[in-house]
Symmetry: C2
């Protein structure tokens, strides 16, 4: 065991503050990473504030963070894919049972015995896992990703959650050149959706409630921007989309988007509104449309996504902050006041 | 033009009563069919009573019926697939534009310019099309189906709507041997779903609110029957289904069934509850599940379904009634008092 610096919350209403945590010494398959940047995901805030207590109650102290990019400092004797000095990344998972059919298909995100990067039982040290708001982490090599050398690291961190969450459903539902793809909501997830859909060759339409976001949507790769409150603009696109990525986590009129799908079109939800959505059935029946959800991707697909980002030079648009501003960042996140993701520069933690 | 006997409704609250309607003389591609049996579909009742007035207002007089089986009496000079004396069937559609991409893919059910068997503009005679509660009909050969000679004709009629509506989504979502398939609701549609899923080789589980239906469900082909109000029985099947066909048209707890799907499982709605369904998003996200709808099938798939029924000797379980009892049958339909579909013996209309 060794000591690492971290930021943790002591309770659901406590601010995040500097602390020291224990990390395990590296074993044979482990990679020790000096964390350089960690993205702030809305999940971090939900977990820290115990807003998911019915499904995933928070154990305190809680060190959040699952959008981790850094540099390898040490590797175990059995590690083959990494050496000290390499760039490396860690996303939402740090382990799984590796034997179930999901793991054997490289779909660790569906493993019934997975270990999340934070707030999951830690089978090495007891207690729960601690995430990336820290200067160091030790992770089994199977859950460590390679990072292409050409990418901006601050903008790479959010790829590990916001990136894979939007990339995975597009690959799953066949987004390619020639497809018409809608992106609902231009936030942390949505802005990555636009970049991926564009890079995959699709015709990209962004739906937003804010006319002010039009220019930015185009800059990110949108071919068209529709203000979703304008019924006539919406109507013009009725029955025309192959795929829509819905990244809105507030309650909203899902039927307005279902009506925009063509025959066999799919709308996938990656935002998770608290209340059930009201889904009129006729809209699904008439054109054999489908509505689905999607979490993150598996490890192989996450690596594929990072490689794709390397080839297309895709990173998240981030506002880099020192960790001392994390509580302020959470407050701004609640107001959607960020373009489009916060990335914590962990040098600020070292200096503390 | 010639005169045909029929039963029609004069208004939304009027009972169906005997009348005479005009049918067109056969043209080159037309097939004239003496109707032997016509199934009663819940859609007939909705349309007759103008319950879909916001989307498909009813034009009166209305002659419903789109589950038609009969014998060819005359064919036009260009007809190649049928000759007088052949068995023939007609389902929910009697025409389409034939040129759109949907028609060219054999998916006429999605043609934006389709002509339904009743209550659609009739381009030959003006007014609207008249359905199968009649002793005769004239239909273009492209929309006339071949009927395998070994099937009971009264039970074949419902295949043209209830049959194809349940067969099509199972084929679309890949129901085969080795898959675990749920059927929700054991009515006109559901009982066909059980027969098809069983014949396709799946492990079939029927969900019903009525313990009294258990024995019948097994007779129809169910491997297991779950009383959906028993939470523990439901829980035992959590995360295990590849596909669920939901044939319930009343409001119900869709999430209870979404939770039963395995990763990438799909639940397809073929019943259409009036009110939107409440769909919690987490249930879709965690296992990348999907919820979809499905209407009838196209003409090629409808023929495939009839051939499949011939091979597996599948027909609907019907209660055969004379047309004079149609209003009584509608009243019973509202109470789900039929096992499992009414089929009108059109000999009763001839005798009138």
């Amino acid at each position: 065991m060794y000591k690492a610096k971290a930021y943790s919350a002591a309770g659901a209403t406590a601010p995040l503050a500097g602390t020291t945590i224990a990390r395990r010494d590296i074993a044979g398959h482990d990679v020790q990473i000096e964390i350089l940047f960690c993205g702030i995901c809305h999940s971090d805030l939900h977990q820290v504030r115990n807003e998911w207590k019915s499904v995933m109650p928070t154990v305190y102290p809680c060190v959040p963070g699952h959008e981790i990019v850094g540099r390898v400092t040490r590797v175990g004797s059995a590690v083959t894919g990494f050496k000290p000095g390499d760039l490396a990344a860690v996303g939402c998972m740090v382990d799984s049972d590796r034997t179930c059919p999901e793991c054997q298909s490289g779909l660790e995100q569906f493993c019934p015995n997975g270990t999340l990067t934070y707030n999951s039982p830690d089978k090495h040290l007891g207690g729960v896992t601690y995430g990336g708001y820290s200067d160091s982490i030790v992770v089994d090599q199977r859950f460590v990703l390679q990072v292409p050398g050409n990418l901006n690291l601050a903008g790479t961190a959010p790829l590990l959650c916001a990136g894979i969450t939007t990339y995975s459903p597009m690959r799953h539902w066949g987004v390619t050149k020639g497809k018409k793809v809608g992106i609902v909501g231009l936030g942390g997830l949505g802005h990555m959706g636009v970049k991926f859909a564009h890079a995959l060759g699709a015709h990209v339409v962004v739906f937003t409630t804010s006319p002010g976001k039009k220019e930015d949507a185009r800059r990110l790769g949108a071919d068209e921007v529709v203000v979703s409150r304008h019924a006539d603009e919406m109507q013009r696109h009725a029955g025309s989309f192959d795929f829509i990525l819905d990244a809105v986590s507030a309650d909203h009129d899902i039927n307005a988007y279902i009506q925009l799908l063509r025959r066999d079109g799919n709308i996938t939800l990656v935002g998770a509104p608290e209340k059930p959505l009201a889904v009129p059935v006729f809209g699904l029946i008439f054109k054999r449309r489908s509505l689905s959800g999607s979490p993150i991707g598996g490890i192989p697909e996450t690596q594929e996504m990072l490689n794709f980002c390397g080839e297309h030079n895709i990173t998240a648009d981030v506002e880099v902050i020192p960790i001392q501003k994390v509580n302020e960042a959470y407050a701004r996140l609640l107001k959607s006041d960020v373009k489009y993701r916060f990335s914590i520069d962990m040098a600020s933690l070292k200096a503390e």
